[in-house]
């Protein structure tokens, strides 16, 4: 299989892992965690690489994940002291950790192929050439196996905790907590997210990780009502972003990271605008209809109360005419009266209040 195809395959499986992760983060209202982690894992990663000079060492993963957990601990510390506001503390902590990482990379790793740009963008183009070998056998790119393993881990986690996750999605009051066994779940879950971030770092870089963890799941969140649908749609949109971005990057001769992130964002935009029911366009028409309805009911109410319509700020002449045409009002001698249709429309609106 050619290098390009492998790169595409790795991109797709990375996208899937980010989408699965991100779906659960979005449901738990914790999207911020992905942004923070993708910044915080860098110093651990850079330090480990500097010390070991071995790209394949598992210590890289462990060290980076440790960086992630440190960030989570530090943020909680800042937040619990209530001295600094929590958004600000997150921003400062991971900016600080990220800067440390960048300085390590710029200074200590100057002569390696691990440099500041890779941090942001990842190294997808080179990834297919890093092979996993079992003795003499070439099993394919290491990153492919790594990301596939991560996806498996995530699927296992999701299957095991499916009921709890579903409850959270339906009950908005549970959102932000894992319901039944909060602390344990949270720890396991954040570890999985950290591992995903670190594993994907080499392929995707910090920007794309955040983009893929948030944009496709957010778009799916707008389109679905059930957890299973959310996961499937998010995964599908992530795969779509990966493929479109990849294809765009080839004639442009640039790293796929920008185009993939851009596609994910564009897809979100399209969903946001045009989604049936929750999209902006559809909402606009719904709101117009509701508003017109409310005004009509108001006119009906005022007629029923026999009060003058002078205080209405809207143009009530056309509304009156429309109501008469639709037989909700009727003109009898000099007065206006509600018909039975008009009365029932008014009654149902008042009942809804």
């Amino acid at each position: 299989m050619s290098a390009e195809l492998w790169a595409l395959a790795i991109a797709v499986v990375t996208a899937v892992s980010c989408a699965l992760c991100g779906s659960l983060l979005v449901v738990n209202r914790q999207s911020m965690v992905s942004e923070a982690l993708s910044h915080a894992v860098l110093p651990g990663l850079a330090l480990a690489f500097f010390l070991l000079r071995d790209y394949n060492s598992p210590w890289l993963l462990i060290s980076a994940a440790a960086g992630g957990m440190l960030m989570i601990w530090l943020t909680e510390l800042f937040r619990s002291t209530r001295i600094v506001d929590s958004d600000a503390s997150l921003g400062i902590v991971f900016a600080g950790m990220f800067s440390l990482g960048i300085l390590l990379v710029a200074n200590l790793l100057r002569d390696t192929h691990f440099h500041a740009d890779c941090v942001l963008e990842g190294n997808l183009v080179l990834a297919p050439f890093d092979r996993l070998r079992w003795g003499e056998v070439d099993l394919g790119p290491r990153d492919w196996w790594l990301m596939s393993g991560i996806v498996t881990l995530q699927l296992v986690f999701i299957l095991v905790s499916y009921k709890e996750l579903k409850a959270m999605l339906f009950d908005p009051q549970l959102a932000g907590r894992f319901g039944l066994r909060p602390k344990l779940f949270e720890m396991i879950w954040l570890t999985v997210v950290s591992l995903t971030t670190v594993a994907a770092f080499n392929v995707a870089g910090s920007i794309l990780i955040v983009g893929l963890m948030i944009a496709p799941p957010a778009a799916a969140f707008l389109l679905t009502q059930r957890l299973s649908h959310l996961l499937i749609v998010a995964t599908a949109l992530a795969i779509l972003s990966a493929m479109v971005g990849f294809l765009v990057s080839i004639p442009m001769e640039i790293a796929p990271t920008g185009p993939v992130a851009s596609s994910a964002g564009l897809i979100f935009l399209l969903v946001y605008l045009f989604a049936p029911r929750s999209g902006l366009v559809s909402q606009h028409f719904q709101r117009k209809r509701k508003r017109a309805d409310t005004i009509e009911c108001l006119v009906l109410q005022l007629v029923a109360d026999n009060t003058s319509l002078d205080h209405l700020t809207k143009n009530w002449n056309s509304v009156l005419r429309s109501l008469i045409d639709r037989e909700l009002l009727v003109q009898a001698n000099d007065k206006m009266l509600l018909t039975s249709f008009g009365q029932s429309k008014l009654d149902s609106m008042l009942a809804e209040l």
């Binding site: 709101r287 108001l298 005022l302 205080h311 209405l312 700020t313 008042l350 209040l353």
Partner: protein, 256 residues
Amino acid sequence: MQTAISTSQLTVTYGANTALWNVSTEIPQGKISAIIGPNGAGKSTLLKAILGMVPTLSGSVDLHLSPSQAVNHASDIGYVPQRSSVDWDFPITVLDLVLMGTYGRLRWFQRPGKREKEAAMECLKQVEMEDFCHRQIGQLSGGQQQRVFLARAFVQQASVYLLDEPFAGVDAKTEQMIIEILQQLREAGNTITMVHHDLTTVQSYFDHVILLNKQLVASGPTSDTFTQENLQETYGIESDLLRQSSKRDELPGPQE
């Protein structure tokens, strides 16, 4: 009865929700009035609509201020919002907060001067908080915070005061102090209206009540309006508290 504020067919919507529907009522001048209703009844919205802070779908609000009252400054109404709407960790002192009440009288590039500071200290004395004037506001208790909020409204020297749940989270002693100050204001001819949540104190504190649940249920003098029937219609439930709250006035209730 002279009217300070009247609304006609006031209707306010937020997106798809209706907050107030066709509310026509009058707030009497020189009295202490309560706006009462369940959660989400639009009580705060009514205050905001009177102040012109929210866009209305239809209806109008009329302020009937006497000529001498209307001429003075832009801030004819002293507004005391809910205490929860503020960040108490903000780096300002008690005096700073009260001085904000003078901003309505100052141009945008002006800062409060000696005259404003003296007025602010006067108002702080009124609420017995003058010793705290250099404290950061986060260091105050709930009752103290509410008193400072009041002082800020008083420094506006308005003739009408609108308060949103001023007794929420406030200790009994402070509540007593506040209601006494408000009663003094009433004796001086000012109009006070507040959103109130404690049904047990309605009859002792208020001359006039407005019962609201998105629509106007009833409004009038407390003795006539604060009845079990009206309360039931407002809150939609039967409860001992409601019965207790209205029983002091032995009005004949509906025949069971």
